[in-house]
């Protein structure tokens, strides 16, 4: 994976496996400490990876972040209005092409979208395929029952089948969610977070909210670090297995403790801001400039959207 090269190697390391005797007893469950530590490491790794992609030269990276944000929001809306499977397939193909032109490793992109979406959305829509859940025209009859069975609210028809409507609805939803997730991934992977935040001002979000968002982003990493330290300290002192009751108490105490730190920290930060002359709103050094290509891009996206919606209408 070429894209992983710029992620520091220490972040790519998996958390070392537990001692042999622990591994033998481990069965399917991993301790809550390891799980939390793993989640925190993943969040940090993900962030560094996105930053490295956002600084590559590529189609979406070259756009003004405001133009990019507006067009991507618009396209997610378009993905929402398309009603035909075929036009959604086309939209997804185009998004692949956009990812490729933005030098996002296709493997990473496909994994983030087309492994995760069919898995989760697929599980959600699976029951809707059958006429037990929604009546419809049978496409594939699975088995016959001698009589319709009534189970309280539900009625199982005597012919259990996968329905045409069920399959169509499931495919539609998976494609639509896939397109929306692709667009969100394209936006976040090709834009630095602080640039993206500044770009949000184009949506008329009050600057105070943006300041808060920006500070939140910074303190998330501090608090994640603090949490990681707390969990690591606990893990390194733990011999054998604590009972779940005790573990729950530890996690909730950690939350309470973190809240104490949070409150104290916010007081200190407030003092620091006041002493540096904070009077309401900070000034930003970041300036955006709309180039000619940004305007062309917006027009282009608009034309493509018309093509999609028009094609959708013709097909439907």
């Amino acid at each position: 994976m070429a894209g992983m090269r710029s992620v520091p190697s220490w972040l790519q390391e998996k958390i070392p496996p537990p001692a042999p005797q622990a591994a033998a007893r481990r069965s399917s469950r991993r301790g809550f400490l390891e799980k939390t530590l793993h989640a925190i490491t993943e969040a940090l790794k993900n962030e560094i990876f996105s930053e490295s992609l956002a600084s590559r030269p590529g189609l979406l990276q070259g756009l003004d972040p405001r133009a990019k944000l507006v067009t991507i929001l618009f396209l997610i809306g378009i993905a929402g209005v398309l009603h035909h499977i075929f036009s959604l397939v086309l939209l997804n193909l185009w998004l692949f092409w956009l990812a490729k032109s933005s030098r996002i490793p296709i493997g990473t992109f496909a994994k983030r979208v087309w492994v995760v979406v069919p898995l989760f959305t697929g599980i959600v829509v699976f029951p809707t395929l059958f006429n037990v859940v929604r009546p419809g025209t049978p496409l594939l009859v699975l088995f016959h029952l001698s009589l319709p069975v009534k189970l309280g609210y539900w009625t199982i028809p005597h012919e259990v089948a996968i329905t045409k409507e069920g399959v169509t609805a499931a495919v539609l939803l998976i494609l639509r969610v896939g397109a929306s997730v692709s667009l969100a991934v394209l936006l976040t992977l090709t834009t630095r977070w602080n640039t993206l935040l500044k770009a949000l001002s184009v949506l008329r979000i009050p600057p105070v909210f943006l300041t808060v968002l920006e500070m939140t982003y910074r303190y998330i990493f501090l608090l994640l670090h603090t949490s990681s330290d707390m969990f690591m300290a606990r893990r390194s002192r733990l011999v054998g297995r604590a009972n779940p009751r005790e573990e729950r108490r530890f996690v909730t105490s950690a939350m309470g403790n973190l809240w104490g730190k949070t409150a104290a920290l916010s007081e200190e930060v407030h003092g620091a801001m006041l002493s540096r002359g904070y009077a309401g709103l900070p000034k930003s050094l970041l300036r955006f400039e709309m180039k000619r290509s940004d305007w062309v891009w917006m027009v282009l996206v608009f034309i493509i959207a018309i093509l999609f919606v028009g094609g959708d209408r013709v097909l439907g």
Partner: protein, 342 residues
């Protein structure tokens, strides 16, 4: 409980946006009046806290672990209005940075988790704890009950939102366009999971954290009063909080009780207005929908299957070709322009 993009129709998301905008403005104003300049750091670090504790895995009976949301906990320590801002910001970061929850559905997610959850949780907490001492048993019991009620109210709202989709948005022959489950499936599914699993977890976590704070740093439980006392600003009158509770009573049951028919009626009527927001007009689309997407695939028309397939393939070639060409041309144009600038 995060609803991803694609499960709700764009018009649903827009109408939740219309509901949320005045609520956000009210929350921002209230919290700013109360905290003055302390507002920015406290909200920022509070949101970071909210985000971080959502990552904690909590061991649950049965040997697995689960996540707590922590919205009820925040409502207890920060009050519902400030919690609303913190959770909104945490949700924004999750949606934009980690792809958790959708970008268009952000408005609906905020309605469930930033508005309904903290207000119901806080209402339950205040109802039980009243004006008891901060160390009282009723405080943590109230916090637990509030958190339980809050998360279930949010789950109910999410269930109703999802369940309305197939009723409001489907093709002429009944294929649902967004979430395929009707109210009779979506609401029980969401509620069951939250009444039995997520709700009790939330309640236990909230109770344990409140008890921890009671025994180690009781002042942190009342950060609202603390900030108000230390701020030189005019003291916050509790009347405002009672007004807030009044708004809670008016607002939250709207989404809570009015499931089923009432919401359906409202939706059908409102749909007329909503349609104006979609450039191509959903209604016209529904009217012009003459056949099912798979209509030509029906058995007797085997020939029409092939002709349809050929048309599809032709469309694909032309469509993909045009769009790829346009994109490619744009890319060249962009490269040329950036070279020209250097």
């Amino acid at each position: 409980m995060h609803i991803p993009d694609g499960y709700l129709s764009p018009s649903t998301c827009v109408s939740f946006g219309i509901v949320m905008i005045p609520v956000w403005v009210a929350a921002a104003r209230k919290v700013r009046n109360w905290l003055k300049s302390r507002y920015v750091p406290l909200m920022a670090i509070g949101a970071a806290f909210s985000f971080t504790i959502m990552m904690y895995n909590v061991p649950i009976p049965g040997g697995t672990t689960a996540h707590a949301v922590g919205g009820g906990l925040l409502a207890v320590v920060l009050g519902p209005w400030a919690t609303m801002i913190c959770v909104t910001i945490a949700l924004a970061i999750q949606a934009l940075l980690f792809g958790d929850g959708g970008i268009w559905t952000f408005t609906a997610n905020c309605f469930n988790m930033a508005l309904v959850l903290p207000f119901i949780a806080y209402g339950g907490y205040r109802l039980i704890s009243g004006k008891r001492d901060l160390n009282a048993k009723r405080r943590w019991v109230g916090a637990a009950v509030g958190a339980y009620l809050g998360i279930n109210a949010a789950a109910l709202c999410a269930g109703v939102e999802l369940g309305l989709q197939p009723i409001l948005f489907h093709t002429a022959n009944g294929v649902p366009l967004y979430c395929p489950y009707p109210l009779s499936v979506a609401v029980p599914a969401m509620l069951f999971a939250h009444l039995v699993l997520a709700g009790p977890l939330e309640a236990v976590v909230t109770a344990l954290v409140v008890r921890y704070l009671q025994s180690y740093n009781v002042d942190l439980l009342n950060i609202q009063a603390l900030s108000a006392a230390s701020a030189p600003a005019t003291p916050v009158s509790y009347r405002k909080f009672w007004w807030a509770l009044g708004v809670l009573i008016v607002l939250s049951p709207l989404g809570l009780l009015a499931s089923g028919t009432a919401w359906g009626e409202w939706g059908a009527e409102e749909l007329q207005k909503m349609l104006g927001f979609i450039p191509s007009g959903m209604q016209r689309l529904a009217d012009t929908w003459s056949h099912a997407p798979f209509g030509d695939y029906s058995l007797p028309g085997f020939e029409s299957f092939w002709s349809a397939a050929i048309i599809y393939i032709l469309c694909a070639i032309i469509g993909v070709g045009t769009i790829s060409l346009l994109t490619y041309l744009f890319w060249r144009f962009q490269l040329a322009e950036s070279k020209g600038q250097n």
